[in-house]
Amino acid sequence: SNPFEVKVNRQKFDILGRKTKNDVGLPGVSRSKAIKKRNQTLLKEYKEREKTNVFKDKRFGEYNTKITPEEKMIRRFTLERQQNYGKKNIYNLNEDEELTHYGQSLAEIEKLNDIVDSDSDTEERGTLSAELTAAHFGGGGGLLRKKVSSEQQDEEEEKPKSRKELIEEMIARSKQEKQERQTRRESALELTEKLDKDWKEIQTLIARKTPKSERKDKDVEKPKPDEYDMIVRELGFEMKAKPSERLKTEEELAKEEQARLQKLEADRLRRMRGIDEQANKKRPSHMSADDLADGFILDKDDRRLLSYKDGKINIENEEEKEEEEGEEEGEEEGDEEDNDNEEESQEESASEDEEDDAADRHSDLESDHESEEEAAGNKEEKKHKANENESQNVEKLDPKSKAAKSELPYTFAVPESYETFKSLLAGRTIEQQLIILERVQKCNHPSLAMGNKAKLEKLFGFLLEYIGELATLDLPELRTIDKLVLPLYNLCQMFPEAASDSIKFILRDAAHDLEEVIEVKGRATFPGLDTLIYLKIISLLFPTSDFWHPVVTPAFMYMSQLLTKCRITTLQDVIKGLFICCLFLEYVSLSRRFVPELINFLLGVLHISLPKNHAQGYTVVHPFTPVGKNLELLFVCDKEDLKSWEKQNVPLSIVTRLKETSKTEINHTRLSCLALCFDLIKKCAALYECLPSFHEIMHPVRILLTQHVPVNEYPEKMQELYHSALKELENKVKHYTPLICEKKKPVPLKQYTPKIVKVLEFGRKQAGSKKEQERKQLIQRHKRELKGAIREIRKDNQFLARMQLSEIMERDSARKRKVKELLGSLATQEGEWKAMKRKKWKS
């Protein structure tokens, strides 16, 4: 090529083994190539930028290079013919015309349709054959299909088949299909029947559930499978008996516990029915044919087995009864099979097992007795009858049974609703309630069954609700609550999340109520005793010293609201407030956190214990006011009452019912409150002594104590309390050290020492893993591509700008030319006109 068009990239150094890609370039050639390409693409787009019309070439196979031109022409011709086929002549009205679809008369198609429908009625619907679908819905794909079919049939049939032929063919085909399907169905039926037969044969070996009469026959017929069964079971028992020496897991322990409870329950039941140990001992000789000796396959549900038979404590619901029935049935059915291996298995089974199952067997015995007496009859009825009969008999005979009756059942299901829970505990003494709760927990240990966890979690909520209810009674059963917190604690230890959720729920409700009351009335009243008890329970269940705790922190907020928002109008309010103060103190006793509300409230309580017109040197804040209704609420002026007062604990029940007893008693309660307040102040002082502004915090309290409280009028005991509180306040050293901010960590100066990296291989980028290398490569490639793309875009823009410029130039030059032309013609006109004028002048 032209040496002037070649650009050589000169290498500074020749390096051996280096492949050079770009040593020679042809800038002119590449440029012209690029321009040409742009002319074909970009320029075209540019010229057509405002055109929306598109030219589409729809000629058949125009751009298909695989088809030879001759073939192409033939195809086109056939297509044309096909399109015109059937159109005939639309203007020829005389011709008797049939409406057609896809070359077939519509009427015929309709007939055909009917036939097909009647056929397919018996068969599966919705699965139409391909033929049918094509015939019915063949509109779109018609052309193509036709092509294919015509190809299939070669040249012998250029035209499609006549209508009649087609229809006949279709009918034949559908008939054939129908027949085929029928045969298939028949064969399937046969197979299933055969299978059923086989199954029946095998079933007797496996299933327990077969009528007695049949079974006996079968026992005779097939003794061998029973032996097999025996062996299998034996093996099973051996496996179970093995792990006795290793450490027991929690699950096993729970199981054992459950077993123990079951045993106790069984004992209790037996005693209630009045069947003594003697009968128990005799029993082996008395074993019925149907008795089962396989107590070791106690299912998990067994624990429910016995709980319902106590006529009095019929707690369980229908569902469980049914379950039990089912079990019973199952066991009975199992009995027969176990008959043979009874003795062996008894030998094998441990003595514990025997004892465990005593009741089970016993119940079986009973039912068997009954069944002997009357073969038919509802099982449940029977049992109830049996129970009644027996218990009646026994009551007369045996005094023991009475004790047994009052005794609790040993197994309980977890109550599903609060009502059932309440009925479970109703009428029981505290101890009994505790035992019930304990047993409910043990029987439903989460490791025993799947749903137990959720059930016990619910139980926590119920228990909480129950406590609340107890506290809201007219005579709050605080002693009961006192005991009930123990199971609450245990449950909480088991399910912290659920417990916290339910307590939070209660708190949210309480706070919501408070907020509502404030919004409606503008002021709030203290909540009932139940809420106070809940708050106390929170401090028992959860650590209150945490910086943040999901339950305790909201409780703090709630108590703070109570102390600041609630009106104090009665003596009960004061007691409730003081109760909350105690709660606050208890909550922060370990963490020593500062509670402003507490001090405010105590100050307020002191304030209302004074005669009027004494508010100087200190200010009380909401809910106490320097003037107003609640003044002198705790003020006692009766000398007699002052003298006769003895320090005693405030009964909590006073909160719900402050009977208007004698004035003396009220005064005594007031004094008790005051004493409580003094003590709390003392405790606060001890708690907050390390706060830097302790004296500022306690300043108003101190002023009130020293200047306003009429100490000398108080009884001696009160004076003692007063002085101890005051002492606690005053003997703190005033000690202030100026504050100093924590020093910021100095930001290190930037250093310019070079970073030294070991070079392992020269000429290669250092990188860690393969992945890292790949990533870097990708990044680099991306960079390169980006640069290239930007360059291309720039060139495109330049090209476009050039084109636009040339367009403008062209337009301008055309305009100039035209202007010139016009001016020229005007000039000649003018010239001619002037010449004419001159001529006139001359002439």
Binding site: L478, F594, S693, P738, C741
Partner: protein, 254 residues
């Protein structure tokens, strides 16, 4: 001359539905000044109208800040108009030309009063004080006094003085905020701990905190999702069965 209820009603709406429509708002001057002098909630409310007069109508109010200072008493954290009052106080104290002693006196007084405030007010006042420190760096001696006297037996600040200049606030330190670092509410404790470090440059936005209510705080806490719930490990023996139970000393279960 008006009953208290009516006074409050008038003053609540005065600033945005009366004053803008008056031809000469300055006529309200005497009314507002008298109302401002009454004290308590009425003074707080009159502040709003006064602010408009001072700001837009060139009212000169002698000893305005002294009066404002004396308005601060423990009830300001508990009254209904807390948000409005602190919004205005923030405006009044936003000038950077105020003398340091005045701002320091305000800071000291506000934090002293904060010792009786409920948590929702504390969450508002602590950033408020931080903002004051940012605007008036001269007051930072209140939280940072290196080389001061090591031991003092008394807080130099005198709360009882009416005059801010006599309160010796600049010689004191913010022990109150330090006490609040032990507050039971975790957010308050965190907010108070901010003053331990040197403050950032940006001012906190307190407009969202002004209207904070106790119920909102409670709701926020309740809705927090906890990963796990720590439990009390001490085995209980009954409702009042804890060790050293305060209740057992004072209440009986009867």
């Amino acid at each position: 001359q008006l009953p208290t209820g009516l006074y409050k009603k008038v003053l609540v709406i005065l600033h945005d539905s009366v004053l803008p429509y008056m031809n000469e708002p300055t006529l309200m001057m005497d009314f507002l000044t008298v109302a401002y002098g009454i004290g308590g909630a009425i003074s707080l409310l009159a502040l709003n109208g006064l602010f408009i007069l001072i700001h837009q109508h060139n009212l000169e109010y002698p000893d305005f800040y002294k009066k404002l200072y004396s308005l601060l008493d423990p009830s300001i954290y508990h009254v209904k108009y807390r948000a409005r009052f602190f919004h205005l106080t923030d405006l009044f104290l936003s000038s950077s030309h105020l003398p340091a002693y005045l701002v320091a006196a305000f800071i000291k007084r506000l934090s002293r009063l904060a010792l009786t405030a409920p948590p929702e007010a504390l969450l508002m006042i602590i950033p408020f004080i931080c903002n004051l420190f940012r605007r008036h760096p001269a007051c930072r001696v209140l939280v940072h006094r290196p080389g001061g006297p090591a031991d003092m037996s008394e807080d130099p600040y005198v709360m009882e003085k009416e005059e801010p200049s006599e309160s010796r606030a600049l010689e004191s330190s913010l022990w109150e905020i330090q006490s609040l670092q032990n507050h039971y509410h975790p957010d308050v404790a965190k907010a108070a701990a901010v003053l331990n470090q040197s403050l950032s440059e940006m001012e906190d936005d307190i407009s969202g905190l002004l209207e904070l209510s106790a119920y909102e705080l409670f709701d926020k806490e309740v809705k927090k999702k906890a990963v796990d719930v720590p439990l009390e490990f001490e085995q209980i023996r009954g409702l009042f069965g804890k060790k050293n139970d305060i209740f057992a000393e004072h209440f009986s279960l009867d």
